[in-house]
């Protein structure tokens, strides 16, 4: 792998696939292979016929709503008839000065950071553990991944029953004689956000494990063999070989995790509901949006909140792209070169 990197020639630039996942991708180009035929007149008709439906659906239901949100965000509007009560930036001023929203941003930031800090190390260790070829590995992988497949509603309903004050967890603690450890897991503001982190870890760590396992499969066996010949210990190998080479996978996982955490809605809304979430200290930007937009019948305001969430996500994504993922783009170039 290091040899391929050395053979890169500058100028052989093609943007990596991932670079195109962001909004700045307008200038991104697909790595092209030579075609014998250009697109003629009939070719263009085929293109329109094949790509047209997807483009139309995508524009109408993904791009248009985002644009509409930007427009309605400038109005005070209950959602019926054309919006007439233009309030300029008033909605945004209210949002950004509302303590409830600022708290929600704080919760989101906490969840972003803690998701990375908690899930990352656990998932790396589990992936290393499961990467050995051994009997039972596929059933272990399946079971670790199961919580990820189950719907948020099932997860939320099950956990809120288990964690209620007279639920199964407290019951178990009493049975074990650890009654003093029993807590009001869901509504105690000092604990609730950690409860949420526990549930999020439970639900999403399997996803990280699966990704890391895929990344580990891409690391050439020879590197470990060579290191073993040189007398490297297991942990030295993991530190010097595995972690650096797993870097790209780690960075992509972190990216997905960050975006997911910024937009967290389902679990919080199902377990806590809109009112309890704010008193228990687990409200997120998205639950704030639904509570103060649709549920309050204030669609102009809800759309403005959507725009704020969108911009925050975009800025975070672009910063991440710029400072963290840039290295991976360089790696992708060399890989393309070697094919």
């Amino acid at each position: 792998m290091s040899t391929t990197r050395e053979t890169t020639r500058p100028g052989s630039v093609s943007t990596s696939d991932l670079a195109q996942h962001d909004g700045s991708g307008a200038k991104a180009s697909l790595p092209s292979r030579p075609r014998r035929r250009g697109a003629g007149w009939s070719g263009r008709a085929e293109i329109a016929l094949l790509a047209g439906p997807a483009v139309i659906v995508f524009l109408a239901f993904v791009i248009l709503p985002v644009a509409m949100a930007a427009y309605y965000g400038f109005y005070r509007w209950a959602g019926y008839g054309p919006p007439t009560d233009f309030v300029g930036l008033q909605n945004y001023v209210v949002i950004l000065t509302d303590p409830a929203f600022l708290q929600a941003i704080g919760h989101n930031a906490f969840i972003v950071v803690m998701s990375l800090v908690i899930q990352g190390p656990i998932a790396i260790l589990l992936a290393l553990l499961l990467n050995r070829r051994m009997r039972g590995q596929s059933i272990i992988r399946i079971l670790i991944f199961v919580p990820y497949v189950i719907s948020e509603v099932v997860v939320g309903t099950g956990w809120s029953l288990m964690l209620s004050t007279n639920g199964a967890l407290n019951g178990m603690l009493h049975n074990l004689g650890l009654g003093s450890l029993a807590h009001d897991w869901l509504s105690d503001p000092n604990i609730a956000i950690w409860t949420l982190m526990g549930i999020l870890t439970w639900k999403y760590v399997g996803f990280a494990v699966i990704l890391f396992l895929a990344g580990l499969q891409g690391i050439p066996e020879e590197l470990y063999e060579a290191a073993a010949l040189d007398g490297a210990s297991y942990w030295q190998m993991q530190r010097r070989i595995t972690l650096p080479l797993l870097g790209p996978t780690l960075r992509i996982w972190a990216f997905l995790s960050i975006i997911g955490a910024l937009q967290l809605f389902d679990l919080v809304y199902i377990i806590w509901g809109q009112y309890v979430a704010s008193t228990a200290g687990t409200s997120t930007m998205a639950t704030y949006m639904v509570a103060n937009g649709r549920n309050a019948g204030n669609y102009g305001y809800g759309n403005a909140v959507a725009v704020v969430i969108f911009l925050i996500s975009l800025v975070v994504a672009l910063i991440y792209q710029r400072f963290v993922l840039r290295r991976d783009t360089a790696g992708a170039l060399t890989e393309r070169k070697t094919r």
Binding site: R33, R36, L50, R132, G136, I144, P147, S151, I210, F310
Partner: protein
């Protein structure tokens, strides 16, 4: 990225082998420590699910007396009540319709668009790909409020179509990102041979591409299906009428309606996750492959 792409090439090279190999050659046992840690982790992962399933076999008085106990005696009445009522089956039907149509729509439209992106040379191709790829970054949460307005203006409120069409749109980015590499990997020689034999590009699409990209199609199909089966936010906005509820909404409605009947809620909840679990265990290998593919792009 290097490691990822290398992983892909390697796996594709031995694409179908691992499953065959594992049946022939027996894997060695791992060390006891590894199994012990794996056991603890799996216990943590599975116990909450088992709690839900077993809880359905208990009575409310059992649950009140000992919230963390086993069913004693076992009681199937909760499950029979749920299975005997029409509410559950109506929601299963709604969820199935929504998930199937979403899957077919997303894979169909996605495959067509991916084919264009992978095998046609035209101006704006990169921009088109970037447009879809950008959609990957913004899940439905951000767009939900205006999306609700779009659906309402189209008169699709309280109809399954109002959930299906937006779901197709939001499934397209993942589908396209996964399928484009599959379609690009089809050797040019096959295409040329087909053209020499008088096959048009559209004919090539229907006769060859569909078959050759089947693994990718299955992967994206499963992702779309499970995503739809579990989706909550969009149905929550669009479906207000009990008769149109999908299972996630049904579970929530049921658990607030029968809030005091914990055992019954647990039975309903565990029945609602069975289809997704079956689907997952059937296609586990493909889902895992698809998720990694989704990240690799």
């Amino acid at each position: 990225m290097t490691a990822l792409t290398a992983g892909r090439t390697r796996r594709r090279g031995s694409g179908t082998n691992p499953s065959k190999r594992s049946t022939k050659e027996r894997l060695p046992w791992g060390s006891p420590t590894v199994y012990f840690i794996a056991f603890v982790v799996i216990a943590l992962m599975v116990v909450p699910i088992i709690y839900i399933i077993l809880g359905g076999f208990r009575t409310n008085s059992q649950i009140t007396v000992d919230p963390a106990g086993f069913p004693n005696p076992w009681n199937v009445q909760n499950y029979l009540n749920v299975l005997g009522g029409s509410v559950f089956w109506g929601q299963v039907l709604n969820s199935t319709i929504v998930a199937l149509v979403t899957t077919i729509g997303a894979v169909g439209l996605g495959l067509m668009a991916s084919y264009v992106l992978a095998r046609y040379q035209f101006r704006g191709r990169g921009a088109l790909y970037a447009l879809f790829a950008a959609g990957l970054m913004f899940p439905i949460t951000v767009a939900i409020t205006p999306l609700y307005l779009v659906v309402r203006n189209l008169g699709l409120m309280n109809s399954l179509g109002g959930v299906i069409i937006p779901q197709i749109a939001f499934a397209l980015p993942t589908t396209i990102i996964i399928l484009v590499p599959f379609l690009r990997a089809i050797p040019d020689e096959i295409q040329e041979a087909a053209f020499i034999d008088g096959c048009s590009r559209l004919g090539f699409f229907f006769r060859m591409v569909l078959r050759l990209s089947l693994p990718g199609v299955i992967t994206t199909g499963i992702l779309a299906f499970i995503g739809s089966w579990n989706s909550y936010l969009l149905p929550l906005f669009i479906l207000n009428n009990d008769s149109t509820f999908t299972l996630p909404l049904g579970v929530q409605a049921f658990s607030s309606q029968y809030a005091t009947d914990t055992a019954q809620v647990l039975a309903f909840t565990s029945l609602s996750m069975i289809p997704a679990l079956i689907f997952f265990s059937l296609f586990e290998r493909r889902i895992v492959g698809g998720l990694t593919g989704a990240v690799k792009g």
